[in-house]
Amino acid sequence: MLSPLYLVAAALAASFTLGLLNPKRSGAAYAITLVTLAFMAWVPAGWLWGFMAEGAQPVEIYTAGALPPYAINLRMGLAEAAMTLLITLTGLLSALYLKESLIKLGHRGMAVLMVALMAFCGIVLTRDLFNLFVFFELAAISTAGLILLSEDERALSAGFKYLIVSQLVSTFLLIGILFAYHASGTLNLDTMASARLPHGSAPSFALAFFLMFIALVTELKPFPANGWALDIYESAHPAYSALFSAAAATASLYAVDKLLLVGGPGWYPMATGIGITTFLAANLFALPQGNDRRLLGYSSLAQIGLILVVLGQRDLLGEGTPFIAFGLLVSHAVAKAGLYWLSGLVGGRSLTDWAALRGRPLLVFAFISFVAMLTSLPPFPGFYAKWELVRVLAGEGRLALLALILIGALVEAGYLFRWFGYMLKREAPAEAVNGEPHQVVPVYVAVLAGWVLGYFWGELSGVGLGHHNLLLSLPLAFALGFLLLDWLPAWVKNTLAITGMVAFFFLTYAEYDPLRLIFALIFLIGGAITLLASYDAHGRRIGFYPAAMLMYAGMVMLVRANDSFEFFAAWELLTLGSYFLILRGKHSEPHALSYILFSLGGAFLILAGFALAAGGAAQFPITALGQVAPAVAPWVFLLLATGFMTKTAAIGLHIWLPGAHAEAETDVSPMVSGILLKAGLFGLFVLLMAMGKQRLYGVELTHVLLWVAAFTALLGNLMAVFQEDAKRLLAYSSIGQMGYALFGLALMNHLGWLMALMFVINHYIYKSMLFLSVGGVAKRTGTREMYRMGGLIRLMPLSFIAVLIGIIAISGVPPLSGFGGRWIFYNAILASDYRLPMVILFLAGPVAFLYLFRLIHSIFLGQLKDELRRVKEAPFWIALPQMLYVGLLLAFALAPGLALRRVDTYLNLFFPEGGLHWEGFEITSDYGYWNPVAIMIVVAVIFVSLFAWLLFVNRRAQKVKQFNIVFSAERPFRPETTHFAWNFFAPYRKALGFLVQPYATTFWGALTDFLHTAGDLARRLYDGNGQSYALHFLAFVVIVFGVGV
Amino acid sequence: MMRELHERLKCLFPLGELTEQRRGPPNELAFVSLPGAYLRPALLHLRDLEGFTHLVLLTAVDWLEEGQFQLTYLLSNRTQARDIGLRVFLPRDGATMASIHDLWPTAATYQRELREMFGIDFPDSPGVNDDFILEGWIDMPPYRRDFDTKRFAAENFSQRPGRTTTDPEQHMKAKLYPGEN
């Protein structure tokens, strides 16, 4: 392990050497620079290894041979090693990235770069206040120097603005340091900290500390004193921006952390306040940004603000602080550096210009990895950090702060995922990305680092908190494996995926209780059946399998989750995977965005709910939800239920669903509708099983759920009635169906739950089938507008049969399985205490007929159009699963007991009363009876006899064509004018259309518009004038002082 | 009243004599002829300034002997309850008249009928060449007086043999008063 002094020494030595070098030999100078930077990275790397693997102890390095306070000392500990490594690695990679630029600039530029890095390292290492000041000034000068050397002309003014502010800052800092020294008699941080108590309360020291603190915090670019930083981020060379965002911020953060050590807990609230304000404001301002680098700048500010909040919560977080702060910091640093490097590869500065990356799957992967890191999604370090942070905050009751953090994070996710959507979906600019290897390599290193850190954090979390390392869980590993296999042809991957899912089911078959078995069956085997349709795809289908398998992995992990952490991680994984899947649709960009936002919003509620429930405990088994303290239990219930209901698209939270499901690819729609929605229901099952009925302010929450469910069912169905787009119709129908299932759950009795489960199974089968069928039709006809189709029954008989069986099943008409659901439903409501919500649900039932008839009529019956006369049946692989589903549906209709009987028994654990009796083929409840086999036989016998009779009577019937219809002795004009399909239920709209005004859409639209407009108006604060920025800083100081006092 | 109108109009258009069919007020009805070239300004004047807002009908008379078609544009002033008919004469051969469908959309229908039944062309009138009442007509326009409907019917339709035609007057006389003559 080399002395950390080498960090300083090497940089200085190399800089001076460069100065001696012949200016023309810039190649050699570049080589020296790289070697030096590599050496500088090597030093902390050695230390880090030493601390981590060899158990080395932190060391103090004393300069000038004297002990502090008489001399300056540097410290190399675990934190310092990690940070300096982060800084120097960023520097090294940036230097690599900057190859051309640096060689053009010559040795002066390289020297400045090295000095800057040296200064950042110095800030981290030093324990002396004045030394800190010196390093800060060095950093400022070298930063300004680097900016001066940037190519962008605008960077000049930005650099000058930076200098103005840094002049002010240094004035404050210096005066603060000197007064602190005056008050405490030392410049050494540790001495000052240990001697804090006697003079800590002295006003003079407090004022001095305030000056130092505010100066250092300003280096973190707090709101509103951060306009200058944004200008730099926007205008500087992206490699410099990467450096500032990752390295400089790291150093400054650590400086503030060290300073807080001196100031003590009294200053924590101030740090928290500044941090959270910055976090919220920066995210809000980022919303309307169109420039990529400025957006990243805002995001940087926000992230650093968040970390400042973490530092400010040190009193709560205690030992866990580094885990959280570092988790967020490395996520931020790695991602932000990577993104800035990426931005250098993209030609245009508009967000949509990033579509140029699309041709490079690896870069796309890099981008999304970075976005996931920034939004704290699993399996990256930020995820563990976020979980831990929320857990502790909720445990200690800092709920307002928690809420603000989550809101800010949601806004951040909003603009980041919107950007990602642009990249994947917008029209790619003409010029493609031409990344030289030396530019691309840093990006890849960052991605790799992100994943490695994710693994590392998983391990840390395992050691410290007993959580399972997500990257080691088999389903996730399986899913991620597809990233490596993405070069294979699609059918190979499909086979692998199906095999894997089926195999996993049979491996783990015995581990599930009956309820979970049903869900596992749907997720794994059901998913495998749906995947059969994917054989229809040709080529490699880059990105499909990792996304799909990520979703399935998440769902499997959800079913297998034991504690809240696993549950939540699985939830986020399945959300992320399904988001990618949905985003693959041709026009799905806005819908995928609203999906991910609603899902993340829901996820945050779940996160908060779990954290609140855990009350600070590191481990919280799902089953422990039942033992939550009565004071918080209803709130936990509310949070979790709302979170789960975003996934099941309860009314009000449903607006993401239609677009997302409708615009998805043919084989994706059944996955996200037939299967994914069940994840939300599973969550609700788990929640209700554990928590049961809860009352809040005397209102029974399950009763509220009942009303929500009823309205969801009614309005979902009603909206489906008025759709022209077949897939949208099905999507709205899903909303309605989920309303039914939710209703069953909320009934809180045995049969209600059984009914919900029946809906789970039924909905999986028929909605997958219908989406496949309609998807196949849309694929063949090139449209999803139903009125453009018509008369396809003869051309696509298999698809027709699937839809026919599907709609009979959905409508609940005997003898198919939908009737079973209705029968159990009636029995369930008879046993329930509530009556009024049923009214709504009764209305919803027949409404389903409307859209179902419309679906089958407009597509398959009626008049065939000219251009569709030669349409072929859906491709084999899309038709095959449909036929399997038809078989499944009939089997389930005949023998529902196969699936339900065990669950029925299992539910006795929760509701011993009111179960069903299964005798032979007959099913009996407390109220009635039902014999599916008898019904099926009776109906079949009557039906077949009549059909045979009719066929016999009409054996000589003349088969006619579509215009052979009576038309008041006239003839039809054209098929288009004869097919009655558009606005099919016009009278119904006249009567009940007022119920389906898009209130929810308007509300959410207004909310996002408001945020957007607010951000857009408020960011005019940054008028670009250096003097304004100086005033901002002064105002900031005054405000903080005022609030602080 | 109509006379006053006629006097007024005469200053503007070369009108012919006024033929008053019904004197009023109310319910006046009069006809006046004018050259085809002045029809449009006259119609506009009547419609916009004199309150004849309603085109009651547009019809034609075949003056076979004179070799002319007479077009009658019957306009109505509803507030004053009076009608005026403008007569325009055009040569029978290649009869063409400017369309007024832009003044009264309903005129298009009349013009279509005249096109079919008389063979008078109204260029640019919407759908003027489409079938109106007849479908697949193959002969000369049937309302022209030189069209021989009896001969046409005899040639085109199979008649029931043994059919006789009786003069109704004679027939009834014979039936009611069998004793006489």
Binding site: W823, V839, L861, A934, V953, K959 | -
Partner: protein, 301 residues
């Protein structure tokens, strides 16, 4: 499971009786309506002539597979509904096939024929058929609502979903009928009944002067005959459900005939007095007048 094979001939016997009763009943009703209009009206056996004629038509056309299935669905719905409900209370012979399911089965089986008919009609490609279906389905959504509420109320009242048990609970005098023990439910259900009988004011579905004649526009010969058969069975089957739920059921055929006739006449009386509603009017009517009754029924039971 033991299955009594005699149930099949018994069921067929019920079917036979009901078909003939239905044929005569509808003719009788038409005749009564004619007499109100001072006409003699059709002959009492007219329905048979029409039926035979339609079965006896020599030629027919077909628009495709669903065109066949439409009437089959329709008639299956009618026969099924009839057979899933016991016709005569206390009679094993006329308990039909009610072992297959309870009231809910009957309630949902009503839709079987409607749905199938709609599909068959739509297959013909005739716009009037689609328009008729659109109207019919729209109307049914709110027309069925009071019935559903009434059934819910009755099931709550008697604590069972078994039709036989519900009838049994109403035995022992007219004052035990649901009509008197749960008048709101009956009122709501009878309003729903009007909506389901295809008579004015709720007959806009077939609207003879406007969209001749709605869904069955293209149907003829034996297809039509099958639907005519259903028209004889289905109203009776539906009325049987009403009778069993609300009017004490019937313990013998004469009582059965009387009650069915009287219930049928309710819709006839209303029908000859009121003009036709448009779809949105009837939807509003059901929501404003029938729905509150239904809600009262379930709240007060």
């Amino acid at each position: 499971m033991q299955f009594d094979w005699m149930k099949i001939p018994y069921a067929l016997l019920t079917l036979f009786i009901v078909v003939n009763f239905g044929m005569i009943l509808t003719a009788l009703v038409a005749k009564i309506a004619a007499r109100v209009g001072r006409r003699r009206g059709i002959r009492i056996w007219q329905n048979y002539a029409d039926l035979f004629k339609n079965y006896g038509l020599r030629s027919s056309i077909t628009h495709g597979a669903m065109f066949y299935l439409g009437p089959v669905f329709r008639l299956t719905g009618g026969i099924g509904l009839l057979l899933f409900v016991p016709t005569i209370y206390g009679s094993y012979v006329f308990s039909n096939l009610s072992f297959a399911g309870d009231l809910i089965l009957a309630l949902y089986f009503i839709f079987f024929g409607t749905l199938g008919m709609a599909l068959g009609a739509a297959e013909s490609g005739h716009p009037h058929a689609a328009i008729g279906v659109s109207r019919g389905l729209s109307q049914v959504t709110t027309a069925e609502l009071p019935l559903a509420l009434a059934v819910f109320s009755v099931a709550l009242q008697y604590h069972t979903l078994s039709v036989t048990a519900i009838v049994a609970a109403q035995q022992g005098g007219i004052e035990h009928w649901t009509l008197f023990t749960n008048p709101f439910a009956v009122a709501a259900a009878m309003l729903a009944f009007l909506g389901s009988m295809m008579r004015p004011p709720f007959d806009v579905v077939s609207a003879p002067q406007e969209i001749p004649i709605g869904p069955p526009t293209e149907y003829h010969s034996s297809y039509l005959a099958m639907m005519q058969t259903n028209r004889a069975i289905f109203p009776i089957a539906k009325i049987v459900v009403y009778m069993n739920l609300f009017f004490g059921g019937a313990a013998s055929w004469p009582v059965f005939c009387l009650k069915v006739f009287l219930i049928y006449m309710v819709s006839v009386f209303i029908g000859v007095v009121f003009p036709r509603f448009r779809v949105e009017q009837s939807i509003r009517w059901f929501l404003i007048w029938a729905l509150p009754l239904g809600v009262l029924a379930i709240v007060l039971v």
